[in-house]
Symmetry: C2
Subunit: 153 residues, 2 copies
C-alpha cells in the first residue's frame, strides 16, 4: 500500500508545506548574502545585529534579542566575535549591572557605509519589484507574528 500518490498523503508532501518553503528560502537568502557579507567580514546573523546597532547604538543584549528573536545563548558568543573583530564594545551598564550594553566602535559604525550596497544586490537577486517584495514581506511578518503568538500560550 501507499505506493501510489494518495490524496490522504497530500498534507505530508514536502512541496505542499509552507514551512519548507520558508525554511528553504531562508537558506537561499543566506547563500546569496554570503559572498556579499564576506566582503564586510560578517556572517548573516552578525549582519542582523549590525543592522540593529546601526539603527540604535548602546543597546542592551536583551533588546537585540527581542528584535531578532534570539536568546543569550546565541547572542553572547556572537557578540564576543563581533567584539574580537573590533566592531562593537561590550560594557556593563552602570545603572543596572545585570545589563551588558553593546555599542559600535568607529569601525563598526563606518562599516554601515560599505553595507549600503548589500540591500540593492539582494533586490537584484530577488528579481522582483520592490512593491511585490514589500507585500510578501508584510504577509510573512504577519504569519510569523501569528505563529509567535501561539508559542506564547
Amino acid at each position: 500500500m501507499a505506493r501510489k500518490p494518495s490524496a490522504a498523503d497530500a498534507p505530508l508532501r514536502l512541496d505542499n508545506q509552507i514551512c519548507f518553503a520558508v525554511y528553504s528560502a531562508a537558506h537561499a537568502f543566506n547563500r546569496v548574502y554570503k559572498p556579499l557579507l564576506d566582503g564586510l567580514g560578517l556572517t548573516y546573523p552578525q549582519y542582523l545585529v549590525m543592522l540593529v546597532l546601526w539603527e540604535r547604538d548602546d543597546v542592551p543584549v536583551k533588546d537585540i534579542g527581542e528584535k531578532l528573536f534570539l536568546d543569550s545563548g546565541t547572542l553572547t558568543p556572537l557578540l564576543k566575535r563581533l567584539e574580537a573583530a573590533h566592531l562593537v564594545k561590550r560594557t556593563r551598564s552602570r545603572e543596572d549591572e545585570r545589563q551588558v550594553l553593546i555599542s559600535l566602535t568607529p569601525q563598526g559604525y563606518s562599516l554601515k557605509e560599505k553595507a549600503r550596497a548589500v540591500p540593492q544586490s539582494i533586490l537584484a537577486a530577488s528579481d522582483c519589484s520592490v512593491s511585490e517584495l514589500v507585500a510578501m514581506k508584510d504577509e510573512i511578518v504577519a504569519l510569523r507574528d501569528r505563529l509567535n503568538a501561539v508559542i506564547g500560550e
Copy 2:
C-alpha cells in the same frame, strides 16, 4: 549625524528587509514544530528527511540533499542519528558503491501515521486559510527559486 531616521537608511532598516522576515518566520515555524515533533522524537530537519522518505523510499543521500537543498556535511550526521533511532537504514548501493541508499525501517514507516496530525496543528497555528497559505507558499517558492538561480551563476 545619522541620529534621526533618514530616508537614505531605509534600505538598511531591519523591518524593511524581506530576508529578515523569512529568517524570523523560519525560526517561528521551528518553535511551533518543536513540541509537535518532540512527540515523534524528531527535530525539524529530521522531519523533512522523513517527509522525503515517506514519499519515496530507498533514496540516495544526494537525492535527499537536492530536495532539501542540503549537503552531505549536514545530512551524513543527521542520517546517522536517524539510524541510531532505528528509523532508517543506510546501505551502500551495490550497483554504484559511491552511493549510500537510505531506506525506512518498519518503525520509520509507521511513524508516518503519527505524523499525520502535525500538518493540521501547523495549519491551526498559522491561523490563516488554506488558500492564503498556498498562495504565500507559491510566492515564497518562486522567490527561493529565483535566488537559487542567481547562486548558480
